[in-house]
C-alpha cells in the first residue's frame, strides 16, 4: 500500500495538526485529551454544539468546526469513537453556560462514550441535550438490534443545529431542530470497494470486480447484502427506492434536500453522475430538490462508494440550512 502517511500511529494526530495549522483563524487543537474547538468559543449567550466520532470520516467532523456549525469536535482513533474524557473536555472548553447539544451517531461506542461524558458533566451542572442520528435505512430497526446507524444526516443535523445556536436559540430549541432533521432524514450507501485501514494496509473487506456491497456503513463494516454490480443509474434507483419507501405515506412531500457524499474514493465526476440520477428520481416522484450538497463530506477512508440522504425540508430547516457557515470544509454566506 502506498499512501501519504508518515506512520500508521501518527495518522490522526498529524492530520489534526495540519488542519489547525492551516485554519488558525477558525479553530484550535487541544491534545490529551484531543479535541478541536472554535477559536472564539465559548461564545457568550450561545448554545454550544459538539460532535465527534472516529477519525477516518474527514472532513466530518473536524472540518465542520466554526461559526454556524460545530463549536467543537472530538475525533477518536481511526473508526473508534472518542473517549468520554475527550467529549467532556471539548464540552467544557466551549460551553458558555447556555448548554451544549451533543450530536451523536448511533453506533454503540459513540453512544456509550457520549452518555458517560453527559453523566460526568451533569454531575457538575453542565446541561447537555443529545441528538441521536439514526438515519440508515439499510439497517433493520427492531427491538432486537441496536437500531439504525447514524450516517449522512449527521452533517445536516450539525449544520442546522449550528445555525440555530448561532442565532441564539435555546438548548431545547436547538436540540428539537436537530431531532426534527433526524426524523425527516433517510440515508443509504453502497460501495464498490472497502476502505484501507492504515494499521493493516488492507481493505476491510474484499469485493470481486463484479459485485457491490449494498447498505454499507462508514466504518468498513460489510453492508447488509452483496449484489451483482449494476450500472450507476440502477444502483441509484435502488437506493432511492429504499430511502423513499422508508418514509411514511404522507411524510415525503414538497421540498427536499438531497445530500450525496462520496465515501472517500468516489471522484467529483462520479458524485455528479449519482446526483444527476437522484435528482431525476426525486423529480419523478413529484418532489423538488430545493437544496443539495454534493461532494465528499462524510467519508470512510478510501472507500469507493457513495451515500445518499434525503431530508424533507420545511421553511425553518431551509432557512437554517441557508444561514452563513464558516468552517474548513463548508462555507457560504457572509
Amino acid at each position: 500500500m502506498k499512501r501519504l502517511y508518515n506512520s500508521p500511529d501518527t495518522v490522526v494526530s498529524e492530520a489534526l495538526e495540519g488542519i489547525a495549522l492551516t485554519h488558525p483563524e477558525l479553530l484550535r487543537v487541544a491534545h490529551d485529551p484531543t479535541y478541536l474547538a472554535r477559536v472564539d468559543a465559548p461564545v457568550a449567550g450561545r448554545v454550544a454544539v459538539v460532535s465527534g466520532g472516529g477519525s477516518g470520516h474527514e472532513p466530518m467532523h473536524v472540518g465542520f468546526v466554526g461559526p454556524g456549525m460545530l463549536s467543537a469536535a472530538c475525533p477518536g482513533e481511526l473508526f473508534t469513537s472518542p473517549t468520554a474524557d475527550q467529549v467532556e473536555a471539548a464540552v467544557r472548553a466551549v460551553d458558555a453556560g447556555a448548554g451544549t447539544v451533543l450530536v451523536v451517531k448511533n453506533y454503540s461506542g459513540d453512544v456509550m462514550n457520549f452518555e458517560m461524558a453527559a453523566e460526568l458533566l451533569a454531575a457538575d451542572g453542565v446541561a447537555t441535550e443529545t441528538v441521536l442520528v439514526a438515519d440508515d435505512v439499510a439497517v433493520e430497526d427492531s427491538t432486537y438490534t441496536s437500531g439504525r446507524r447514524g450516517v449522512g444526516a449527521t452533517v445536516l443535523v450539525e449544520k442546522v443545529c449550528g445555525a440555530a445556536a448561532e442565532r441564539g436559540d435555546s438548548l431545547a430549541q436547538v436540540a428539537e431542530l436537530g431531532r426534527r432533521v433526524c426524523a425527516r432524514s433517510r440515508s443509504l450507501g453502497f460501495a464498490l470497494s472497502a476502505g484501507t485501514v492504515p494499521a493493516t494496509g488492507r481493505r476491510s473487506f474484499e469485493l470481486p470486480d463484479d459485485e457491490i456491497e449494498f447498505g454499507v456503513g462508514i466504518h468498513g463494516e460489510p453492508g447488509r447484502e452483496r449484489r451483482p454490480m449494476q450500472p450507476v443509474d440502477a444502483l441509484v434507483d435502488r437506493a432511492m427506492a429504499a430511502i423513499c419507501a422508508d418514509f411514511g405515506a404522507d411524510e415525503l412531500a414538497g421540498d427536499v434536500l438531497l445530500f450525496v457524499t462520496g465515501l472517500g474514493s468516489a471522484t467529483p465526476l462520479e458524485c455528479s453522475i449519482v446526483a444527476r440520477r437522484a435528482v431525476q428520481d426525486l423529480d419523478r416522484r413529484g418532489l423538488r430538490v430545493a437544496r443539495n450538497l454534493v461532494g465528499s463530506y462524510m467519508t470512510s477512508l478510501d472507500m469507493l462508494g457513495v451515500s445518499l440522504t434525503v431530508l424533507v425540508l420545511d421553511e425553518q430547516l431551509a432557512e437554517l440550512w441557508d444561514a452563513p457557515v464558516r468552517t474548513a470544509a463548508l462555507r457560504w454566506g457572509r
Binding site: F79, S81, S146
Partner: protein, 210 residues
C-alpha cells in the same frame, strides 16, 4: 494455591492479560474486521498497555485500587464500545472490592456480579445479544455457584464457563453492537469482545492455578 487475591496478584493478572491481548491482537482485530470495524485488538492493546504502565507508575495497595486505575485508564485511552464496557466493568469491580486488602471467594463473587451488571447497564445488553456480556454473565453465574469451594475453584469455574459461552455464541445472530447491523450475516462469527473477555478470565484462572 492462593485463596486470596492481593493488589500485587491482581496487578500481575492484568500484566498477564496485557500480554495475552498483545499476543492475540491480530486475531481480535481480524474477528472484528469480519463483523465490525476491525479495531478491537489494536484498541484493547493500546488501553491495556496504558493500564499496565499506570500500575507500574502508581502501585496500588488494594485490589479495588488496581481495578479503579485500570478502569480509568481504559475509559480514557480506548474509546469505542470496548473502552466504555471494559472501563465500566472495572470501575464497578473497584467499587465492589472497596478497601479490602485482598479478595476472597465471597468478595470476588460480588466483584464479578457488579462488573457484569455494569456491562449490561452501560451497553444496554441482555443475555443472548451475542456480546461480551454473555461471557461475563456465564462466568459470573459459574463463579457464584463455585464460591463455596474457595477462590481457585471459583476462578477455574468462571474461566471454563467463559470459554464454553464464547464457543456457544458463535452461531447466534448479533443483536447489539456493530455486528448487529449485519443482521443474518453476523451468524457463525466469533464475537471479538467475547474472545477478549474469555482471555481475561483465563488469566485469572492461570494465576489461581500457578
Amino acid at each position: 494455591m492462593a485463596d486470596r487475591l492481593s493488589a500485587t496478584d491482581l496487578t500481575a493478572v492484568f500484566a498477564d492479560f496485557q500480554r495475552a491481548v498483545e499476543r492475540d491482537r491480530d486475531l481480535l482485530t481480524e474477528l472484528d474486521t469480519a463483523v465490525g470495524d476491525g479495531d478491537h485488538g489494536t484498541n484493547l492493546d493500546r488501553g491495556m498497555r496504558a493500564a499496565v504502565e499506570a500500575l507500574a507508575a502508581i502501585p496500588q495497595d488494594t485490589p479495588g485500587g488496581v481495578f479503579n486505575l485500570v478502569g480509568r485508564r481504559l475509559v480514557s485511552t480506548v474509546g469505542g464500545a470496548s473502552g466504555a464496557l471494559y472501563g465500566t466493568a472495572f470501575l464497578r469491580a473497584a467499587r465492589a472490592a472497596g478497601a479490602a486488602e485482598a479478595l476472597d471467594a465471597a468478595t470476588c463473587t460480588a466483584v464479578l456480579r457488579d462488573a457484569t451488571t455494569g456491562i449490561a447497564e452501560r451497553g444496554k445488553c441482555a443475555t443472548g445479544d451475542k456480546t461480551m456480556y454473555d461471557v461475563w454473565m456465564a462466568a459470573s453465574t459459574a463463579a457464584a455457584a463455585a464460591a463455596g469451594d474457595g477462590l481457585p475453584a471459583l476462578l477455574a469455574a468462571a474461566s471454563t464457563a467463559a470459554g464454553a459461552a464464547e464457543q456457544e455464541m458463535v452461531p447466534w445472530q448479533a443483536r447489539r453492537g456493530r455486528a448487529s447491523y449485519l443482521g443474518e450475516r453476523s451468524k457463525d462469527h466469533r464475537d471479538p469482545g467475547a474472545v477478549s473477555s474469555r482471555l481475561l478470565f483465563g488469566c485469572f484462572a492461570a494465576w489461581a492455578d500457578a
